[in-house]
């Protein structure tokens, strides 16, 4: 019997209106339709979601860990790039 694995999918769920989809995990499925069903069963049994995205893991281009220095470190000493010096009125809520 052919024991070949199904392709890997990454699952993103949006928990509430106004929030972005968040990565929640991954799963295996033979195609997008099954991946969606599996995502529903594996990740949304406890009323977590309003919307699900499934993305073939293959389609994601990731940065490599060895590039960390070049990619991120130059920003470390530049606190002024963070908008932390503004007061945000309470009524705005989460940004």
């Amino acid at each position: 019997m052919n024991k070949r694995e199904w392709p890997l999918w990454e699952v993103f769920i949006r928990g509430a209106h106004g929030l972005a989809h968040r990565h929640v995990g991954s799963l295996h499925a033979p195609d997008a339709e099954m991946a969606m069903k599996n995502a529903r069963d594996v990740y949304t049994r406890r009323n977590e979601g309003l919307s699900i995205w499934v993305v073939p893991a293959q389609a994601i281009t990731a940065s490599t860990p060895s590039d960390k220095g070049l990619m991120f470190e130059p920003a470390n000493s530049k606190v002024y790039r963070h908008p932390t010096f503004f007061k945000i009125p309470d009524e705005i809520g989460s940004m």
């Binding site: 019997m1 199904w6 799963l27 295996h28 099954m34 069903k37 599996n38 529903r40 069963d41 594996v42």
Partner: protein, 252 residues
């Protein structure tokens, strides 16, 4: 038979179908062929046991002897269970369990749709809550039947064998006896002929897309509704009721 007793007998049929199938499907937990499928099937079992709990709770409220929902699940004997024969058929291989699930879902979904219009408020309420879960069960099992029926030669053979084996249990749910006719007449139970039409339309569509053919013999078994069960029912109940039978009243 008093009205309350008749109503309870009818509610117990609904309860026992969900309970026995839930018990059987739960045995796949940790054993299904893929992790995702394992979780999905266990979710189905949980949904069914949840529905059984709702029906049994209602049946216990109607019980003249004041038995609880747990008493009804764990302390009735084989002849007092009124589930259809389909749900007590052995799990067999995964293909057979899926086929059993699909045939049941295809009947269960229109049945619950019908029950959601019951003029018994409690029945209508439970059916309305359950029908959403069962809509998903049916979508999932239909999809898997189409995929596996039209998959490899191996998967096709497994599904065709399962269909050949289980088809003779597919009509019992639609064969009304005096109790069900009276329930339908009172507007408590749905019209079974109407549900069978919906069932037939759906399964024909799915089997055609799956490349599966119905067995030639159209002989249909029945008896489960009045407590006449097949040989698998005894061992099934022995396992399900073991704890309450060995340690009466135990709680955890």
């Amino acid at each position: 038979m008093s009205d309350t007793h008749a109503l309870q007998s009818y509610v117990l049929r609904l309860a026992d179908n969900a309970l026995i199938l839930g018990q059987q499907v739960s045995a796949w937990c940790g054993h299904a062929p893929a992790l995702e499928e394992d979780i999905a099937f266990a979710n189905t079992a949980l949904d069914l046991i949840g529905q059984a709990t709702l029906w049994l709770t209602y049946a216990s409220e109607l019980d003249a002897q004041g038995r609880s929902a747990d008493d009804l699940a764990f302390l009735r004997d084989e002849r007092q269970f009124s589930n259809i024969l389909l749900v007590e058929q052995p799990n067999g291989d995964f293909g057979k369990s899926l086929m059993r699930q699909f045939i049941f879902d295809a009947a269960h979904f229109p049945y619950l749709q019908g029950l959601s219009h019951s003029n018994d408020a409690r029945i209508s309420e439970i059916a309305t809550k359950s029908v959403k879960e069962v809509a998903y069960h049916l979508e999932r099992s239909s999809d898997l039947i189409i995929r596996l029926g039209g998959g490899t030669k191996d998967s096709h053979n497994y599904m065709q064998r399962a269909l050949n084996d289980l088809w003779r249990f597919s009509s019992e749910i639609f064969m009304p006896d005096a109790l069900e006719l009276s329930m339908t007449e009172q507007g408590i139970a749905p019209d079974l002929a109407n549900i069978e039409t919906k069932f037939t339309r759906h399964i024909h569509m799915v089997f055609e897309r799956a490349g599966l053919t119905l067995p030639e013999s159209s002989y249909m078994h029945n008896g489960g509704k009045i407590g006449i069960h097949s040989e698998n029912m005894g061992p099934l109940l022995a396992e399900m009721q073991y704890l309450q039978r060995s340690f009466p009243g135990v709680q955890w």
